[in-house]
Amino acid sequence: MQQLGMGQAINQALREEMFRDPDVFLAGEGIGTGIHHSPMLPTAGLLKEFGPGRVKDTPVSEAAIAGLAVGASVAGLRPVVEIMFNPFFTLASDMIVNHAAKLRYLSGGKSSFPLVVRMKSGAGIGAGCQHSHNLEAWVAHSPGLKVVMPATAADAKGLLKSAIRDPNPVIFIEDIMLYFVPGAVPEEEYLIPIGKADVKRQGKDVTVATWSKMLGVAMKAADQLAREGIEIEIVDLRTLVPLDKDTVLGSIRKTGRLVVLHEATRTGGFAGEVAALAMEEAFESLKAPLRRVTGPDIPVPASPPLERFYIPDEEKLIAAVKDILK
């Protein structure tokens, strides 16, 4: 099987969908002629292949990019727009949160907005808090938006293809560090349904629910814990909205213990939602209070030791797992 970084897998998904459906077009800042030329990046080479009619480099204008997607999608086009970094979503958020998310409902279900907003997220690039800020909980809190956060290259490809074919606005958040992590990606065409979690590792002692880059942390922690005889089950949510409650609850009922792991800050983070789900619907199975392992409630700092402190690591997860096993 081909080994691809997540950026390359996304590139394949975009390419395949553009070939399949002439209504799919791309827009964003530097998605055609970028300042970076690495073939590991998601839109590398697409301008050359599909031309400036379908790969639109835009001015620095997030509200206009998002509005373009809203207006074009209601006409039946399939825009896949890029917001360069997750924090800049705030500039696009009026169009997405107040419009894309609400207009189907407002129309009594008559209009639909089949658009995808892709954006880079995640700490680890040393750029500081105006570039590194995980805002998935903000988006998930807005009814009408689907929220996808893939953790592997293969998942990214299959999920993005589904997102492009979905009749709803889908927010597709890509952790920038994952672009460079190679993973096996099937050659043949495949789709991964939005709203289906994936058990990435079976275990009997503790359920670790996570998504995006933190899956890697969980997998490493699992290896270490296994050496000490502790088997964690890792549930990769893949999609926050809609949330695959059945898979999460099934795992909690199996292990009786839950740790939720994410990189975003703690207060109001999506771990709270997963925790509430466990309490409301699987309380009787819980053998111990659940734990959250998250970023601290601070903006992401730039200095290397500070940034490392921000990002949850194996040690923190292992400590939480052992703590609830006590």
């Binding site: 001015p59 509200a63 500081g128 409630d297 290397p304 500070l306």
Partner: protein
Amino acid sequence: MQISKQKKLEMLRSLLLSRKFEEALTELCKIENKIPGMMILCTGQEAVGTGVCAALEMEDVIITNHRSHSHLLAKGADPKLLMAEIYGKKTGCNKGKSGTLHLAVPEINAPCTTTVVGGGPPIAVGRAFAQQYRKEKNVTVCFIGDGATNEGSFHEAVNLASLWSLPVLFVCENNLYAGAQRYEEHTKVRNIAERAAGYAIPGVVVDGNDALAVYTSAVEARARAVAGEGPTLIEYKTYRWRGHGESDLQLYQPKDEIEVWQEMCPIPKLRDELLAEGLISPDELGEMESRMDAIVKDAILFAEESPYPEPHEALQDVFA
């Protein structure tokens, strides 16, 4: 306008300091893991920060962007504290929280640097409102790029500043590029300054590589603002020698175009004028250059010898 000898020398000094500071950064970026994050330099554009800040008093405020080194140095920031921050050290002006991108130096009335493109203008409007509210005879300068004038926030800010006659100078450094986009690929008006007409404020175009012309235009705009006549949009035509980040190979930027602009470098332009007027001798010039070299060397030494912050210091400074 008559410009004093002292002012001119001050500007030459500022140009040299800024250039040497950034040339050092270019070299430091080649060393693996030395400097964290992206490194966005204003090499070639120094006359704008230099000329504008030379027209300001200490109490005047600047709000700057991701390309801020020259603005901050010209306003009087301590090169040591900037360099240590760029290194991510504890002794940096922002204790390692910022890095190179959002350097904040409130001590010199540079309270906020934003790397969110278009974030600066509305903040500058608020800061200028405070000046008007308190009847201070000072101004706020907002440094932005040409690309930033396509953000809606720029237009909302200019409109409000115009409506309320706020003491703001919207200083646009038109360096011909926004990311990998050439000016014509992102903006249809020929000059950014033309946008001022839509808000009934003056819009002026100035040679951004001529520090004295920059200074003169800023003095005039400042005088208008202080007199209660409201904002000015000044477009400085200049050029970005370096890429958008030191890992940018600038493949979209024609080599000969870079060379043409390098020939119009702001430093020899001012230097030769001062030499010709006899305001500085070749010896004094050499001395000035070595003094600036020494300042940059000291800054690097300070940054190198400074410790990194302790990890848990990440938790500090969220609330006052």
